[in-house]
């Protein structure tokens, strides 16, 4: 490849970078640091303590958070798994299915939710559930999450599949594997990094969702983001910073795993 102009030589690159990183990460750093503050104040540092973490698990709001955490994690696990299976089927049809009628339209349909404002999706989903007369609650959250997780699961899966030449499956068929065996023994293992990456991404997206969840959750049903929001409405307490920091850590772990899955994938290609 021809040598490209080094971005770093542009005037102001350093300053712009520093500014972006500051805006992005300073608030997160502040929350993470003050979650260990031994004081009710959120501005005054009074020494290191784990009391707010203890408060999250044993304090007065602990039962709410525990129930919300269970809802969030179980919904994220179920929704990301279902979305991954659907996305995988879609990717096989789109990339290996040859040219079929409506292929372009299908692609648009799969990726459109990424572009639609979330509030619109939220209202539409709620209207839909109301129209068909479904009671809002755990089930409606799950269905809504599966839906908006599909494009996020689809992207890494499709990217991976595009990089796998069809000749591997043909070679398998040539060596007496049925269509299904060629899929299960050859394509699926080769796809695995993309599948894992897509699942992790969908999991994080589901875990993090607030707007849609808030619309379709129904009364008395909370996920972590909605529970945190509810608690913050009565004033920001340090235990919220602790729980936010915990969620941040889960995100970091998942994103790292997703990255590693892709890296390993690159090596086995």
């Amino acid at each position: 490849m021809a040598a490209r102009t080094d971005m770093r030589r542009y005037a102001g690159f350093g300053l712009t970078t520093a500014l972006c990183l500051t805006i992005l990460y300073v608030p997160l750093a502040v929350i993470a640091v003050y979650s260990f503050n031994d004081d009710r104040s959120i501005t005054n540092w009074a020494g290191f303590s784990l009391r707010w973490y203890a408060d999250v698990f044993t304090g007065p709001e602990a039962p709410i958070f525990r129930a919300a955490a269970w809802n969030s994690l179980s919904i994220a696990a179920l929704a990301s798994t279902a979305a991954t299976v659907i996305a995988l089927a879609a990717a096989v049809a789109m990339i290996r299915g040859g040219r079929f009628h409506g292929r372009q339209a299908s692609y648009a349909l799969i990726s459109l939710p990424l572009m639609v404002p979330e509030i619109v999706t939220a209202v539409a989903t709620l209207v839909f559930f109301t129209a068909i007369g479904v009671r809002t609650g755990y089930g409606t959250i799950l269905v809504a999450h599966i839906t908006f997780c599909i494009p996020f699961a689809y992207l890494p899966i499709a990217a991976r599949m595009q990089g796998i030449e069809e000749s591997y499956e043909l070679a398998a068929r040539d060596l007496y594997a049925s269509r299904w065996q060629a899929f299960r023994l050859i394509l699926l293992p080769l796809m695995m990094p993309g599948i894992i990456s897509g699942w992790l991404l969908a999991f994080i997206i589901s875990l993090d969702d607030f707007i849609i969840t808030n619309f379709v959750k129904g009364a008395g049903m909370e996920t972590l983001p909605t529970a945190i929001f509810g608690s913050v409405k009565q004033g920001i307490k340090p235990n919220i910073m602790a729980i936010s920091t915990l969620m941040l850590m889960v995100s970091v772990v998942f994103v790292t795993l997703s990255y590693l899955a892709n890296r390993i994938g690159q090596k086995t290609r």
């Binding site: 030449e165 000749s167 591997y168 043909l170 070679a171 398998a172 068929r173 040539d174 060596l175 007496y176 594997a177 049925s178 269509r179 065996q181 050859i186 293992p189 080769l190 086995t268 290609r269």
Partner: protein, 353 residues
């Protein structure tokens, strides 16, 4: 001679484009059969229709007398060595080689033994536990070969298997492939665009261009008796000269060469008297001692070690190449000199256009 593959007027269309325009071939059991032609002429497409990766638009393909049109690839007793090998990257060499047997339901112990036997055949016994990415190109090529041979197919299809190897390895593999074909007794259908490779290895060659078979024959026939201009040009180096066919009788044709000299040579079926072309291989021309068939002006003499190449032009401007053996001959013509050339008896081959 038993027929292994019968291809009958096979047409393959991609949209409006015809990749195969009615190909008919009969490939014999135990034969090393080569499909030879320039890139894009439809060789891979034909191979894919035999393997079952493509449906034919029209025509029939029979394998040992059985029409296989309706069979998916996994039901055809045919295995393929892919151009880019397509070794399964997540499986060891042993598992790659054993894959076909596994799909056929062969027990693990026997599978292992057969895989070992195959790896021995291609001299890769020490590499069974490696992943394909840990092998060189030449080794990957052998694994692909072992993998395709392990299930003992009746026909092996090879799509330019040597094209990714460097010259030395390619030449060694030619001999090895040919030996492998002879020891296993499996019918090989080998695809290449390299005429030298085709001549060196094949029992018979089908020369293809533009989705059509131009000529089928053993290497010697293809080289020495090309039927048309395409085959003559594509296989080796040749001189194509315009001639007048004066008369055809009893399988012989009387022709007038440029410059007026008259020769008789083999007639070609379907060729009427009139203006035509002949092909004369450079090594079948020699410097005339007396009465010359052609007269040319020398432009350049190129020294090639065992050979000398004489580049010259006829009076009408047609270039003509002569290859002379480099022996302690009398002096060579200098550039600019006029020379007489003798055409060896039977060397002027009439071509259909």
């Amino acid at each position: 001679m038993r027929q292994a593959i019968g291809i009958d007027r096979v047409v393959k269309r991609y949209g409006a484009f015809e990749a195969l325009k009615g190909v008919s071939l009969s490939i014999a059991d135990n034969e090393f059969f080569t499909l030879l032609g320039p890139s894009g002429c439809g060789k891979t497409t034909l191979l894919r229709t035999i393997a079952g990766f493509e449906d034919v638009t029209a025509g029939e393909i029979a394998l040992y007398g059985e029409n296989i049109a309706a069979l998916p690839p996994e039901k055809r007793p045919v295995n393929t060595v892919f151009q880019q090998y397509a070794l399964f990257p997540h499986m060891t060499v042993r598992d790659n080689v054993g894959f076909g047997l596994r799909m056929q339901g062969v027990a693990p112990a026997e599978r292992r033994a057969r895989a070992a036997e195959m790896l021995e055949l291609v001299h890769l016994s020490d590499f069974a536990d490696r992943l394909p990415t840990q092998l060189s190109g030449g080794q990957q090529q052998r694994v692909a070969l072992a993998r395709a041979l392990a299930p003992r197919p009746r026909v092996l299809l090879l799509d330019e298997p040597l094209s990714a190897l460097d010259l030395k390895l390619r030449q060694a593999m030619r001999v090895e492939l040919k030996q492998l074909q002879e020891t296993t007794g499996i019918t090989f259908v080998f695809v290449t665009h390299d005429q030298e490779e085709a001549l060196a290895m094949s029992d018979r060659i089908a020369v293809m261009s533009n989705g059509q078979v131009q000529q089928v024959g053993d290497p010697r026939t293809i080289y020495e008796a090309p039927v048309n201009r395409f085959v003559a040009d594509f296989i080796g180096e040749t001189n194509v000269l315009p001639v007048m066919v004066d008369a055809v009788a009893d399988g012989r044709a009387r022709i007038t060469l440029p410059g007026g000299h008259v020769l008789t040579t083999d007639a070609v079926e379907g060729l009427a008297p009139g203006a035509h072309h002949v092909s004369i291989r450079p090594e079948r021309l020699s410097l005339a001692t007396a009465d010359a068939d052609l007269t040319a002006r020398v432009e350049r003499v190129i020294y090639l070690g065992t050979d000398l190449q004489l580049l010259a032009r006829l009076a009408d401007g047609t270039p003509i190449i002569t290859r002379l053996q480099n022996s302690s001959r009398n002096e060579l013509p200098a550039a600019g000199a006029e020379v007489g050339l003798t055409v060896e008896a039977g060397a002027a081959r009439l071509l259909l256009d």
